[in-house]
């Protein structure tokens, strides 16, 4: 698809950059969100894998004007997140690999459980963006040998701290919630603390490694 800007209600725009995950597009989406927030300062932005949601107050900024500027931003072509040159933090997640989907995932992937754990904990992931719930970081990419489709029927309640995988991604559920990912382990590390100055453990752009216990 051709990158484009579409209205999302009267108080937001959605910048769509593509249909499929691409490492460089994630950085581009974050760059657009950063610029919207820090340079235009019209309102908050929410980047994701292939898009950026740009919010504004339509009683202060005419939507047509916001749209014109978003299109101008898009016309600059691909650029990356403003913070891309900062040293990236490494976040280590101590993990007990005993999730209810561990054995089935190993079998589906034609790997032993030990091999699956070694593959999951044996590489450094990038936190691409946060979304879905407070502190949930979408991290990737999984080793392609790990086959982990989403459950057709999501579980009603997944405990806080559950380490999960789905479709090339991995993450930790910060709060108890429904969810469709494959559950392979758990961590005691709190992922979201609203009383802390930095409420989330993992920030977008961080490097993430799971350390088996």
């Amino acid at each position: 698809m051709k990158p484009r800007v579409v209205p999302f209600g009267e108080a937001a725009l959605l910048v769509e950059l593509g249909d499929e995950f691409q490492e460089n597009v994630v950085g581009w989406a974050r760059g657009i969100a950063d610029t919207w927030e820090s340079i235009f300062a019209f309102g908050p932005a929410v980047p994701a894998y292939t898009s950026a949601l740009l919010r504004f107050d339509p009683l202060r900024v005419a939507p047509t004007e916001a749209e014109r500027l978003a299109n101008e931003l898009l016309a600059r072509g691909e650029f990356t997140a403003l913070a891309v040159n900062e040293p990236r933090r490494l976040i280590e997640i101590p993990t007990t690999y005993d999730g209810p989907d561990l054995a089935a995932t190993a079998e589906r992937s034609q790997l032993g459980v030990e091999r699956l754990v070694a593959l999951h904990s044996g590489r450094e992931y990038t936190a691409y963006f946060l979304g879905f719930m407070p502190g949930f970081a979408y991290c990737g990419r999984l080793d392609p040998r790990i086959v982990a489709p989403r459950h057709a029927r999501p579980r009603e309640r997944i405990p806080a701290g559950t380490v999960a995988i789905a479709d090339g991604q991995t993450g930790v559920y910060p709060l108890a919630s429904p969810g469709g990912w494959q559950l392979i382990g758990r961590t005691e590390l709190a992922m979201f603390d609203p009383s802390a100055a930095e409420p989330v453990r993992i920030r977008a752009g961080d490097r993430v490694r799971f350390v088996p216990l």
Binding site: F8, L14, P47, Y49, L130, G131, F132, M133, G135, V200
Partner: protein
């Protein structure tokens, strides 16, 4: 201080929402019927970022330690002091006077504003409660909450703002993912009469009655706004409200305009809901009209 004698079922402190941490996955929260809270704040002379109480389930009864101007808003609401007083108007209450908030059967969310605002400590830049993450807590009988300072007095009583017409008709703009639906599915969405499902909550209003199917194909998760009408695989649309997840991967067929989202939030399970397609200019005109109504009813304090 405001003393909560009876707290209702699941009442919380709410303001217009927390928009500074969306990128950390923190939902905006805030009032589910944003115009109703904004009107209550305007009626008591509060700034538009003041916190009030979102009341779910009667009975709700309170008193304040000093004289205050109060207002209650919502779909079908009134106050009782010594006599019964209408909602959507400002009322002067004396120190210690016990006030009962009456929620009609068709009120899902009632809003109470007190001059000076509820002055609980902000969390991440807002006083909005977000219960799934333990931000704030449901109010309990016996709770005592701090109030901000105010100059509002008896002369500020009896201001009025016209309530929204709480009918089952919400205006919505198509998209942003209308391209993922056949023209026929979009036409059906804007012609259908949906029924509100009991599983609806502050995250979203779930709709049944008329399944709407997107075309097959995967969608990458994207940022969301309140009012977005998501269509999961099963075809039962969900209109997102204040506690919505910050991103999601279901296609959004349409987005309810901000001025009409309170109507959607206030629909009770079993009631009908229809969507009328409008363009952005009409959405903006409706928002401006609401802002004028707030300014017209605002007390000077």
């Amino acid at each position: 201080m405001i003393r909560i004698n009876e707290a209702g079922l699941r009442s919380t402190v709410q303001d217009r929402g927390r928009f500074g941490h969306l990128r950390s996955g923190v939902p905006p929260a805030g009032a589910a019927d944003a115009f109703a809270l904004a009107a209550a704040n305007a009626l008591v002379g509060n700034a538009d970022d003041a916190a009030g109480i979102e009341i779910i389930g009667a009975p709700f009864r309170f008193s304040c330690d000093d004289a205050r101007v109060v207002a209650v808003t919502g779909r079908d609401v009134s106050l009782t002091t010594r006599s019964r007083l209408p909602g959507w108007s400002s009322v002067f209450v004396r120190a210690g006077q016990v006030v009962t908030v009456n929620l009609g059967e068709r009120t899902r969310f009632g809003y109470l504003a007190v001059s000076g605002g509820i002055a609980t400590a902000p969390v991440l830049g807002s006083r909005a409660s977000y219960l799934p993450a333990g931000v704030g807590a449901p109010l309990r009988s016996g709770d005592v909450l701090p109030l901000g300072d105010t100059d509002a007095g008896a002369e500020d009583a009896a201001h009025r703002i016209d309530p929204i017409t709480y009918d089952g008709q919400a205006r919505a703009m198509a998209g942003p993912h209308d391209g993922r639906f056949d023209a026929e599915a979009i036409a059906r969405f804007f012609a259908a009469t949906f029924v509100v499902e009991p599983a609806s909550d502050r995250q979203g209003v779930r709709l049944g009655g008329v399944p709407i199917a997107p075309r097959p194909g995967e969608l990458q998760s994207c940022g969301l706004v309140a009012g977005a009408v998501q269509v999961p695989r099963g075809g039962a649309p969900i209109v997102l409200l204040a506690d919505h997840g910050t991103t999601g991967g279901y296609p959004v067929i349409a987005t309810v305009i901000a001025a009409d989202l309170g109507k959607v939030a206030q629909r009770m399970p079993g009631e009908s809901l229809r969507f009328y397609r409008v363009e952005r200019d009409e959405a903006l005109a409706a928002l401006r009209a609401q802002r004028r109504a707030l300014d017209g009813g605002r007390v000077s304090a």
